[in-house]
C-alpha cells in the first residue's frame, strides 16, 4: 500500500485542538495502552485463570500453564509493544519528511527490501528459522532504504517526491525478483506465506533484545528531529530561514525511520497499515504538530497492534489470525469513516 498523494492541507490546519485537550487525549491513550498490555497477557487462545497468570509472573514454577504465560504471552505482548511503537513512529516520520499523509514506510522500500532478503535467505541459503532470517530482513530493509535515499538525492539534497518514486521503483523491482524466486521454488514460496502476513506469535524475547537498542537510538533521533521537521512542514526555504538544515534533518529522519521500520519488519514481518494509518489519525487528533503526532503515534500504534492481536487470538479459536491481517480490518474502516467525516479535501 504505497501510494503517493499530493500534499494536502487537510483538515488539520483548521481544527487543531488546544493543549488541554491534547494532554487529556494523551492520558486516555496511555490508559488504553496499559489496559491492552494487561489484557494481552490475560487473554490467549487457551483459558488460563488470572491466578495462574499472577503466579507465573511473580511466583514462577515449572508448571505447564505458567510456561505458557512466561514463554508465549509475555514475550508476545512485549514484542507487540516494541513493534507497534516502531511502526507508528516510522510512519509518522515518513509522512513528515515526504509531507505526504498517505506515505508509509513501505514507500521507501523497507518491506520490499526485507521480503527480498528473507526470500533469498529462505530460498537460496535454506535458512528456515526466524532467528536466522530476521537479520536478513533487517539488513535488506537497511540497504534498500539507503539505496532509495541515494537514488532520490540530488546534489542539493533530497526531493521527497523523487525519493518516493524511487522507493516505489526499487520496491517493485525487488518485489518482482522476489516473486520470481518464490514461484520457481515452491519451498521458498511456502515458507514465505506466513511471514508475508505479519505476525508477532512465537517470537521469543531473545529476538527482541538485539533490536531494542537500535530502536532506542531511533526513538531519540526521531524526537530530536521532530522540531526541525515541524519547521519544514511549511517548506524548505522557510525552514532554512529559521535555522534548520532540511537535508541534514531529512537524513537523520530517514536513518531513524529505517531503523524503526527495519527492526519492526525483522521481528514481525511486513505488518501493513499501522504505519500508514496511525500517524494519519494522530494528525487528525492533534493537528499539524510533529512532536505531538510522534507522541500520539507512539501510544496509538501499539494499542492498535495489541488490540488486533488479541482479537486475532480469540475470534477463530483454537486457531489464530496473524496480527498483520487483523490490523487492516480494524484500521481501514476507521480510516474510511474519518475521511468521510472530515472535510478532507485536498486536491
Amino acid at each position: 500500500m504505497t501510494i503517493l498523494a499530493q500534499r494536502h492541507d487537510g483538515p488539520d490546519a483548521t481544527t487543531a485542538p488546544g493543549p488541554r485537550r491534547r494532554l487529556l487525549g494523551l492520558v486516555t491513550a496511555l490508559l488504553v495502552l496499559s489496559a491492552l498490555l494487561v489484557l494481552s497477557v490475560m487473554i490467549g487462545s487457551t483459558e488460563i485463570s488470572p491466578s495462574v497468570v499472577w503466579d507465573a509472573l511473580f511466583h514462577p514454577s515449572a508448571d505447564i500453564d505458567q510456561f505458557a504465560i512466561r514463554d508465549y504471552r509475555l514475550p508476545r505482548t512485549l514484542v507487540g509493544l516494541a513493534v507497534g511503537v516502531a511502526l507508528g513512529l516510522s510512519g509518522a516520520l515518513i509522512q513528515a519528511i515526504t509531507r505526504n499523509p498517505l506515505a508509509d514506510p513501505g514507500v521507501l522500500g523497507v518491506h520490499a527490501g526485507a521480503s527480498f532478503a528473507v526470500t533469498v535467505a529462505v530460498g537460496v541459503l535454506g535458512i528456515t528459522d526466524i532467528q536466522g532470517y530476521m537479520w536478513f530482513a533487517f539488513a535488506g530493509a537497511l540497504v534498500v532504504t539507503l539505496m532509495v535515499l541515494a537514488l532520490g538525492s540530488t546534489r542539493q539534497g533530497q526531493s521527497p517526491v523523487v525519493m518516493v518514486l524511487a522507493g516505489v521503483c526499487v520496491g517493485a523491482v525487488l518485489g518482482g525478483a522476489r516473486e520470481a524466486i518464490q514461484l520457481t521454488d515452491p519451498e521458498a514460496f511456502d515458507a514465505m506465506r506466513s511471514w508475508n502476513a505479519g505476525s508477532i506469535v512465537g517470537r521469543p524475547l531473545d529476538l527482541l533484545w538485539p533490536i531494542l537498542p537500535l530502536l532506542a537510538v531511533a526513538l531519540v533521533l526521531a524526537l530530536v528531529v521532530s522540531g526541525p521537521l515541524n519547521a519544514m512542514a511549511l517548506g524548505d526555504d522557510l525552514a532554512t530561514a529559521q535555522g534548520v538544515h532540511p537535508a541534514r534533518t531529512r537524513i537523520l529522519a530517514v536513518v531513524a525511520l529505517t531503523l524503526l521500520a527495519g527492526g519492526a519488519t525483522a521481528i514481525a514481518g511486513p505488518v501493513a497499515f499501522v504505519g500508514l494509518m496511525v500517524p494519519h489519525v494522530a494528525r487528525w487528533l492533534v493537528g499539524p504538530h510533529q512532536r505531538w503526532i510522534f507522541v500520539y503515534s507512539i501510544l496509538l500504534a501499539p494499542s492498535l497492534l495489541l488490540a488486533s492481536d488479541i482479537i486475532g487470538r480469540i475470534v477463530m479459536r483454537p486457531g489464530e489470525i496473524p496480527v498483520g491481517i487483523v490490523t487492516a480490518f480494524i484500521g481501514a474502516p476507521v480510516l474510511i469513516v474519518l475521511v468521510r467525516r472530515n472535510k478532507a479535501s485536498g486536491l
Partner: protein
Amino acid sequence: MSNPRRRRGTALTAALLGAALVLTACGGDTEPTTDTAAAAKTRTVTAGNGAVEIPAAPQRVVALGNTTQPFIDIGGKPVGVTELSASELDPIPAEQKATYEAATKLGADTAEVDLEKLAGLKPDLILVQVPDDEFEGIKKQLEAVAPTLFWGLDTEWKAFADALAQAGNLTDALSQQKTQFQDKIAKIKQTYPAIIADTKFVAVDRWDNSDPGTFVISDFGCIEIAQGDIGLNAPKAAAGADPLGWTNLPFEQIAGLSKYDAILYPVDAAGQPKKAFAPVVESNTWKTLSTVTSGHALGVFCPGNNSYGPVLQYLDSLDRALAALPAKK
C-alpha cells in the same frame, strides 16, 4: 514432508475414479477393435478429463505437476518432468533420483511449463496433476502435442497410483508394491490389535510455512493412511469442515495435548525431530507435557503420501514406533 497440505482425497472421487478405471480397463483392453494395426496399438483410458485414446505401450511419457514422483515410483521412465523440490527429491531412492535427473525439466513445479520444449520432446503421452483451473489454461496446447491424461488434486492416492500404472502400462510393478502394502497393513493390525483399539492418538506437525510458535493437529497426509487402512483412533475434521491441519495452533495449546494417550510427531529419516518441528520439541511446554514425560510421544517418518514407495517407508516407521509404546497403565 512433501506437500503436507495436499487436499484430502475424497472418498467419492476415489470411488468414481476406481469404477471408471475398472470399466475402462475392461472396455479398452479386452476388446481389440476390428480395425487394423494402428487401432490395435491404442487403448482408451478415462481420467479427470474424460476418455482419452492413448498408445498401448507409451514410450515417451511426459509427467507434469504431481504426477512426476508417483509415476517414477511405479517404475516409470518419463522423458520430461516438472522440477521436484528438494524435500520431495530427498527421500526417494537413488535409482529413482537417476530417472528424474535423466528427464528433461520443463519448468518449475506449478510455474509455467515450457510448451515448446515439451513439444520438442515428441512425447506420446502426457500425464498431468495440477489445480483444475491451471490445467484448463494449457489443456488445448497439451492435447495438440500428445494424448493427455489429467487428474485433479483431490484424487485419492491409491486410485491415482492405479490410474498412473494403467496409463503408463506399468501395472506389474504396481501390483508388487500393492502386495507389500497389504502385507504390511495386515502385519501391523495383527501385531498391535489392543493398541489400535484402545489408544487415543493425536498426530501433530509443523511445517516450514508455519508461523514461528505455532503447530498443527494433523489429519491429512500419512495419518489418513494410519486412520483409514489401520484404524488408528486420531482426531479428524468434521465432514465438510476444513481439515484440522489447516489451523495453526499457538504453542500455549501444547498443554491441551495431554488429553490424548499418545502423540505421533514427525521425524526425519534418521529419527530426529523434523527440522520444522524441532521448536515444538524444544519448548518448555512440550518438555513438561505428561504424555511426553511418560514416553508416549512417538516419532514417525513420513516421506510422502502420494504413492506406495514413500507410504511403505511410513508404515515401517509407524510399526517401529508402535513397538516402542509403553504398555498402558
